[in-house]
């Protein structure tokens, strides 16, 4: 059997996979987002409120957190219709900051000191199941109508719309579904970390999720899985360099970006030149 240390690492790996897959969906519709930490925070807080305060089972808590984050995603998704590229990246970044600052000031959730004493409900089989289900959904999506619509929108919005793709539905839908996934990921995270505070969901978290997706590559839905494995396991494996592990990790990131600019699993198709 694996010891508890590696079990914990594997749980984080699966959670990162869930988060990355949920960001992969909007990104594959051409919506780069640096605000996923915000959706994750909403999911984490709401699910903790459901399980700890209301005594709901974890699955119900996750559903609550996911729905709350998904709703927020739909609200943010509408402005995202009008803007794209760098503008969207910065808008989502601003959204993430607003969510963090909200929880930093919101008294019922403990402001900066956060919520502690969360029950440990996230288990390895459960997160693996969630990650696998998401992967399965994405795989089914790819060759379904919705997946083809997503790719069409990413290639050329105007052409896609001319072909009868409902731009609003596809883009807002992808964004809201992505937020829903991030909310579920946040709930899973909270019930494993056992303590949440606003600082855990800041810009750095958003950047990390973004990093996982982009590092893995946008060519296939296995990209986020590979990215999550690299970003979760590498710092653990680099423990032998001890104090300099972020430096080594940072250097490896630069090398990856330079040697495989389109991602580790860069597919046949270059995404967005």
């Amino acid at each position: 059997m694996i010891d508890s240390y590696w079990e914990s690492v594997l749980i984080f790996l699966a959670i990162n996979t869930v988060l990355a897959l949920s960001l992969y969906l909007p990104i594959s519709a051409g919506q780069l987002s640096l605000g996923h930490g915000g959706f994750m925070a909403i999911g984490a807080y709401v699910s903790v409120i459901c399980t700890t305060w209301l005594g709901w089972p974890l699955v119900a808590g996750l559903a609550g957190g996911g729905l709350a984050a998904g709703l927020a995603g739909a609200v943010v998704g509408f402005p995202a219709l009008r803007i794209k590229g760098i503008y969207l990246i910065i808008l989502t970044m601003g959204f993430g900051e607003i969510v963090r600052i909200f929880f930093l000031n919101f008294e019922p959730t403990g402001q900066a000191s956060g919520i502690g004493g969360i029950k440990h409900l996230t288990t390895l089989p459960l997160v693996t199941l969630v990650a696998a289900l998401m992967l399965l959904c994405l795989a089914r999506f790819r060759h379904a109508r919705i997946g083809r619509a997503l790719r069409a929108v990413q290639e050329d919005e105007v052409a896609a719309e001319a072909m009868g793709v409902d731009l609003t539905r596809v883009k807002v839908g992808a964004f809201a579904l992505g937020a829903l996934g991030a909310g579920i990921g946040g709930g899973l995270y909270a019930h494993h970390a056992l303590f949440i505070d606003p600082a855990q969901f800041g810009f750095f978290r958003s950047a990390e999720i973004f990093l996982i997706v982009v590092l893995g590559g946008l060519g296939s839905y296995w990209g986020p899985v590979v990215g999550a494995a690299v970003v979760t396991l590498l710092p653990e494996l680099l423990r032998f360099v001890q104090d300099w592990r972020m430096t080594v990790f940072g250097t490896l990131l630069i090398l990856c970006a330079v040697l495989r600019p389109a991602g580790l699993l860069s597919g046949r198709r270059r995404a967005a030149a």
Binding site: P79, I101, V214, F249, G250, A271, A273
Partner: protein, 290 residues
């Protein structure tokens, strides 16, 4: 009261402007986002602090040292994290990965070299305060506002009057055309990085002087805010970034004075999102959204 708040806001805003200008310069030429720009700002503050501590020099020497140090840092970042990706025609998000890497390295190096705690400049630099009618101004405020304005004026003259500045504007217009006209765009980009980073370094020293809170992690918030301001002023528009920074500084200080102070940063981002929705090209941007 209102006047006093405005003065404080302009002081804060002038440091925002310096950072946002850096983003605008780099975005103007490359069309890319530099996610470690906040860490360059942080390094400027730390370099300035070390100069004051070890050489017992005044703020002027610290400022010059930070300018030179961060300019060199900017050149290194361009050569390692941007140029190789450009050479391979990487997608726009590849430099975001590499600069996140650069940011992690700079944070850890700063923590190792200078310790992780918040530190401030020594209090030898006693501020003198003057009263001008209803407004109180300290010598530190004058120094900050003065330095920021001088740097912005210098930048304006550099961009409009010198060959290199014109070459930079030409490259920002179209790198390809600039290259066809005989401009060495690689050199222009290198100089642009040096200038942008030096401005961030100067802002670091100025913020260090005014808030006495220098830490390896001070760059994160500032980086995010600077990026928002650049967008507010219109992507890649340096004059927009100047005005946007001052404006946001004023908004922030006024929102602290008249609204809930703990939500100041949220307020700033909400204003940014609203402006984005109604004027996606930014306050001072012209033409189409790219």
């Amino acid at each position: 009261m209102l006047l006093q708040q405005l003065v404080n806001g302009l002081m804060l805003g002038s440091t925002y402007s310096l950072i946002a200008i850096g983003y605008a310069l780099i975005f103007g030429v490359l069309g890319l986002v530099h996610l470690a720009h906040g860490e360059v700002f942080m390094m400027g503050a730390l370099i300035g602090l070390q100069i004051v501590l070890w050489l017992h020099a005044g703020p002027a020497v610290a400022l010059v040292g930070a300018l030179l140090g961060t300019a060199a840092l900017g050149v290194v970042i361009e050569l390692t994290a941007f140029r190789p990706i450009r050479a391979r025609n990487g997608p726009i998000f590849a430099p975001m990965v590499s600069t996140i890497g650069v940011g992690l390295i700079l944070q850890e190096v700063a923590t190792k070299a200078f310790g992780g705690e918040q530190v401030g400049f020594p209090h030898r630099l006693e501020p003198v305060t003057w009263r001008l009618g209803p407004v109180t101004i300290s010598s530190v405020q004058v120094l900050i506002l003065g330095t920021a304005l001088v740097l912005m004026l210098a930048l304006h003259l550099w961009v409009t009057r010198t060959r290199m500045g014109m070459a930079m504007r030409a490259s920002a217009e179209s790198t390809l055309t600039a290259r066809l006209l005989g401009i060495s765009t690689d050199r222009v980009i290198l100089v642009t990085f040096a200038v942008a980073s030096a401005l961030a370094g100067a802002a670091g020293v100025l913020v260090g002087l005014s808030f006495n809170a220098i830490s390896p992690f001070m760059g994160i918030d500032m980086g995010v805010k600077g990026l928002a301001i650049m967008l507010l002023g219109g992507l890649g528009n340096i004059y927009g970034a100047m005005v946007g920074g001052l404006l946001l500084g004023a908004i922030e200080v006024l929102s602290v004075a008249y609204l809930a102070s703990s939500y100041r940063d949220a307020f700033v981002f909400a204003v940014m999102i609203l402006i984005l929705l109604f004027r996606p090209q930014g306050l001072f941007g012209v033409g189409q959204v790219r």
